[in-house]
Symmetry: C2
DNA sequence: CCTTGACTTTGAGTTAACTCAAAGATATAT
DNA sequence: ATATATCTTTGAGTTAACTCAAAGTCAAGG
């Protein structure tokens, strides 16, 4: 009654191969199966997929996701380790964001100069 | 009177191999040389290195930098093309920034839940 | 029943951006 | 003069994260 792999693939724009790959290497837990052994993505499964998609889109390495899932499956004794893992990744993202902003500033400056240059026909300094 | 490749490498934390690679593929223009043919990075050369470092740190593809330099060396007739190129890259960075913020939100939420869980000993919902 | 899609395993291929190595020739600093 | 750094070219190796293909089996919908 859940979604097939194809449906999940289309809904989230993730190739079926990648979904299987994520499951195989442990980015997401084993997906619920039908009696016949076919993947039948339930709400939980989909939440994991969604999460993986979000984290990957921001550039978290697959290794971090794999490690997180591993800890998750080990139970409550890994709260601290999971907390540390997520905190570390947050630091990395914050650094990345800062870098992005720096680069955007530089890009904006250049772009504004080109806008001007295109009016006057020449770059006014540099 | 400028800097040697080693000095630039150390100053910017970019391996010498990468500096030569950037020059070879056209991420930066040919570097000034001594009479003996050894690279002698002047202010301009260094400005290009700095720029490449910044852009790469934000994830701009090398291809974009190569294309930019190619246009740059073609002269004033490419203002518009350069403007377009930079604008496109800016759009990509803005999208990336948005994604980063989304992911940070999700990460912060999770982290706060773990902080709570570590006090109380269990995850309070999910 | 038949077609279409899903399943598995295995292994190779791809892309970006380096990164390293080898070889032999010069150059520079002490 | 000598030790250390640079130079060139060429080509192979690396890493991450997929991506594709082959081969053969199985399941589900009409």
């Amino acid at each position: 009654m859940g979604l097939t792999i194809k449906e999940v693939s289309e809904k989230y724009g993730i190739p079926s191969e990648t979904l299987r790959y994520y499951e195989r290497v442990g980015v997401i837990p084993p997906v619920t199966r039908t009696a016949g052994g076919i993947r039948d993505y339930g709400e939980e499964d989909i939440a994991w997929v969604e999460n993986a998609k979000c984290m990957r889109a921001a550039g978290l390495p697959i290794e971090a996701l794999i490690e997180y899932l591993k800890l998750y499956r080990e139970g409550d004794s890994t709260f601290q380790a999971r907390f540390a893992l997520l905190s570390e990744q947050r630091e990395l993202l914050l650094a990345q964001k800062k870098q992005l902003e720096e680069t955007l500033d530089r890009l904006n400056y250049k772009i504004s100069r080109y806008a001007l240059a295109m009016e006057t026909g020449k770059l006014t300094w540099e």
